[in-house]
């Protein structure tokens, strides 16, 4: 019997979830307390609903062959598992989210006895939570939603931004994935949908959950309901919470929260965030993030739609190696002291990246940092005017220091080809801008822009395997001494995955395969999954990770033959599909990871970055 996904994280820490056998009152009341949160997040009160969250799968000879076959599809599984859907008499009371005290007392009859007479539920949350034994599992949250809204992708009038959404509306609850960021003092910092002000009491309840569990020297990791997974991530003084109905694994969701955290760090640095909250626990961090909501919104949209984040790898635009080499050489020649990265981007994908030799010997450039840079550029049209000079932190490179980024599009007004130059010297704008002129001149001389304009991603039909519909291939970087950037390649999503809904469905299948492959409790090497409308095969070896999608009727043998062909094709094309050996330059005798100023005589308040704000 396949193990329940939910237990994957147990080894990593305490979390609140559900072995069917246990049933003790404290956990029960915890469930009720959670409903304070749930009442807002989910249309229904919490109910104990043992057993309904277990996914049942029938693996075949999994240990022997490392293949676990699953039928039928993911969706079918989940529905068939919803054994008992209890009726509830609960009616929606939207006021609840603004007033913790109006905790609904008329919840499911089986719970009513334990808690319905509690008056002050603010206190109630804390005291009841305090009694709960968290190692004990016994929680199931059950939500009920209108089938009409279940589709999840509601359209909003164009004039209405997500920020203006009515957080009491059903449509707000029905979002596929909510993300909240709050401070340890419970102050709202960011919400993906709706305004933070309107959500302040909801976030307060979230913080109550976090700090209660903390008081028992534990860390709350997740809460499962039938329809939603709530994942918590604490990073320094920030608490990030994801409420998702996407059926992604807890680990994936936590990974996404980590990206959100890193994007915040990239704007403010970890050091300055810690320092701010050391000085003032209830500081309103939105003051410093004002105007940056779009960047976080953009990140979350990318996380949902771009598999780069799932794979933790960078996707570069396929390019004839001669063209890529010539672009790299252009970047290599345009240097100035303290320049550490030169990155050329087209249509939000990497064309090439040149790195400072000494710096990259020290630390490699992590894909996540590249993702954050790409998102920053893609999320705001602010870069389309003039030449931008802005501090930016690469959190995985060094979470406490700024680089100074020069960002300029090379083809205004179309703005598809973007140059990004990173320096450690904040005074270097004019010399870095001079590098851009050199690059621009060389690109004009070599007609590079029109060559880049012709570049296209590729179609899976080029592989020449009839049943193959789509794939994602991520080689592991060997040899390591090249300090390669982890990359993956993937063709365009074509029919039947042309519509946004179908694209998302395929990505969801990939996410599911990924979670199975990377399960902490039972990792797999190979998985063959027959879904409703396609068949997928994922395979991980010491050399690569591969996800493939075939037409539904393909046999296992056929799929394996097809993969052999595919791997041969990738091998043949790898010079075009990947940045094989990221080029380097040497710009400074003694570069440093820290963003110290180039000149020692400049002493002003900017030296300590944004810390001077306090």
């Amino acid at each position: 019997m396949e193990r329940d996904n939910h237990q994957e994280g147990v080894a990593e820490g305490v979390k609140i979830c559900d072995p069917p056998a246990e049933s003790n009152p404290p956990a029960d009341t915890l469930a009720t307390s959670l409903s304070l949160l749930g009442n807002h997040m989910f249309p229904d009160p919490v109910e104990r609903n043992y057993g309904t969250t277990v996914n049942r799968e029938e693996p075949v000879d999994s240990l022997l062959s490392d293949v676990s076959a699953e039928e039928p599809s993911l969706n079918a599984e989940s529905h068939s598992n919803q054994v008992t859907k209890l009726e509830t008499e609960e009616t929606e009371s939207p006021e609840c989210q603004n007033n913790v005290a109006t905790q609904p007392s008329d919840r499911g009859a089986q719970d009513a006895a334990t808690d319905s007479d509690q008056g002050d539920s603010g206190e109630f949350v804390v005291t009841m939570l305090a009694k709960a034994k968290l190692e004990e599992q016994g929680l199931g949250m059950k939500g009920r939603s209108s089938p009409l809204l279940e589709a999840g992708t509601e359209e909003y009038p164009a004039f209405m931004s997500h920020r203006d959404e009515d957080v009491t509306a059903d449509s707000w609850r029905q979002h596929r994935k909510h993300v909240f960021v709050l401070s340890e003092a419970g102050k709202p910092i960011y919400s993906r949908y709706g305004s933070e002000e309107a959500l302040s009491s909801t976030m307060g309840v979230m913080m109550a959950l976090v700090s209660f569990v903390q008081s028992g020297d534990n860390i709350i990791r997740s809460v499962y309901s039938e329809e939603n997974t709530v994942v918590f991530l604490q990073k320094g003084p920030l608490v990030l919470v994801c409420v998702s109905s996407s059926r992604q694994s807890e680990r994936q969701l936590r990974g996404e929260l980590l990206y959100v955290y890193y994007q915040i760090i990239s704007m403010l640095t970890q050091a300055s965030i810690s320092r701010i909250f050391e000085h003032k626990k209830n500081y309103d961090l939105r003051r410093l993030l004002a105007g940056s909501e779009k960047i976080l919104d953009g990140l979350l949209n990318l996380v949902d739609s771009d598999p780069s984040f799932l794979l933790a790898a960078v996707h570069c635009l396929p390019l004839a190696s001669s063209l890529r080499d010539s672009l790299s050489q252009i970047l290599q020649k345009a240097i100035t002291p303290n320049l550490v990265f030169s990155i050329l981007i087209a249509r939000n994908q990497l064309l090439t990246i040149v790195q400072e030799k000494t710096v990259i010997e020290d630390t490699r450039l992590e894909p996540a940092d590249v993702h954050l840079l790409l998102n920053l550029i893609g999320a705001s049209s602010a870069f389309q005017a003039g030449e931008i000079w802005t501090p930016i932190c690469l959190p995985l490179f060094n979470p406490d220091c700024y680089f100074y980024a020069y960002i300029s599009y090379l083809d205004p007004p179309e703005c598809t080809v973007c140059l990004l130059l990173l320096s450690t010297d904040k005074e270097a704008f004019y010399s870095v801008a001079e590098c851009k002129r050199k690059i621009e001149e060389a690109m004009v001389a070599q007609n590079s822009l029109s060559l880049i304009a012709k570049v296209q991603s590729y179609s899976v039909s080029q592989v020449g395997v009839s049943d193959l519909r789509h794939f994602m291939y991520k080689p592991f970087d060997v040899p390591d001494n090249y300090r390669q950037l982890t990359q993956f390649t993937s063709p365009e999503m074509e029919a039947p995955y042309s519509s946004e809904e179908e694209k998302m469905r395929l990505l969801d299948l990939y996410r599911y395969m990924h979670s199975r492959i990377h399960s902490t409790s039972r990792p797999l090497k190979l998985i063959y999954h027959v879904a409703e409308r396609e068949t997928l095969l994922a395979w991980v070896t010491s050399k690569f990770e591969l996800y493939t999608c075939f037409s539904p009727l393909v046999t296992k043998a056929c799929a394996i033959t097809a993969i052999t062909k595919l791997l041969r094709w990738i091998k043949k094309e790898e010079d075009r599909l990947f940045i094989r050996y990221p080029p380097k330059y040497s710009t400074t005798p003694n570069p440093s990871k820290s963003s110290r100023g180039g000149k020692s005589d400049q002493q002003d308040s900017t030296d300590n970055g944004f810390l001077s704000l306090l």
Partner: protein, 196 residues
């Protein structure tokens, strides 16, 4: 005639959302985008205009008004010949922020920096919160240029820059740039790419 080219570094300061980028965009590109995104860091643009018998090349630093970029401002106003401090006539608060910028420039800015105060969004006079007279009186008290502008309707945008040109000390006969507290002629090479 071979006209002298002077480079004038100008920075725009002011609260977030008052329209600094829109003013620059109107001046440089003569266009307006109602859905402009907040500036990140600072944006650098240039425009050369003729003033009397000289060409003035404005090196414009359009700074982000968001608080997180506040501490970077000295990097941009240092060495500036002029600062355009912008407020939104429909937001009293932005006028208070402007006064703080004036103070900061006094304390840390270049000694002879020309200050221009622009009350932007004058097309929205129905929602006005800052009376024109108050702002004018304040500007006079600090010897600053004052105009109400509308980047949206292209009102008084060029005029701000013309006023700045007027106030910039004239170059002496030798044609050398005067050392009046602002840095001129950053790099000769930058002059190549002007439209004029």
């Amino acid at each position: 005639i071979d006209m002298a080219l002077r480079e004038l570094k100008v920075c725009l300061l002011g609260d977030t959302g008052v329209g600094k980028s829109s003013i620059v965009w109107r001046f440089v590109e003569d266009s307006f985008d109602p859905n402009i995104n907040p500036t990140i860091g600072a944006s650098f643009m240039t425009k050369t205009v003729q003033y009397q018998n000289e060409l003035h090349k404005f090196l414009i630093w359009d700074t982000a008004g968001q608080e997180r970029f506040r501490a970077l401002a000295p990097m941009y106003y240092r060495g500036s010949a002029a600062a355009i401090i912008v407020y939104d006539i429909t937001k009293e608060e932005s006028f208070q922020t402007l006064k703080n910028w004036v103070k900061e420039l006094r304390q840390h800015g270049p000694p002879n920096i020309v200050v221009a105060i622009a009350g932007n969004k004058c097309d929205l006079s129905d929602a006005r919160e800052v009376p024109e007279k108050d702002a004018k009186d304040y500007a006079d008290s600090i010897h600053a240029i004052f105009v109400e502008t509308s980047a949206k309707n292209a009102i008084n945008i060029n005029e701000v820059f013309i006023e700045i040109s007027k106030r910039i000390p004239v170059v002496d006969a030798a044609g050398a740039t005067s050392g009046k507290g602002f840095k001129l002629g950053r790099q000769a090479s930058e002059s190549r790419r002007t439209c004029c």
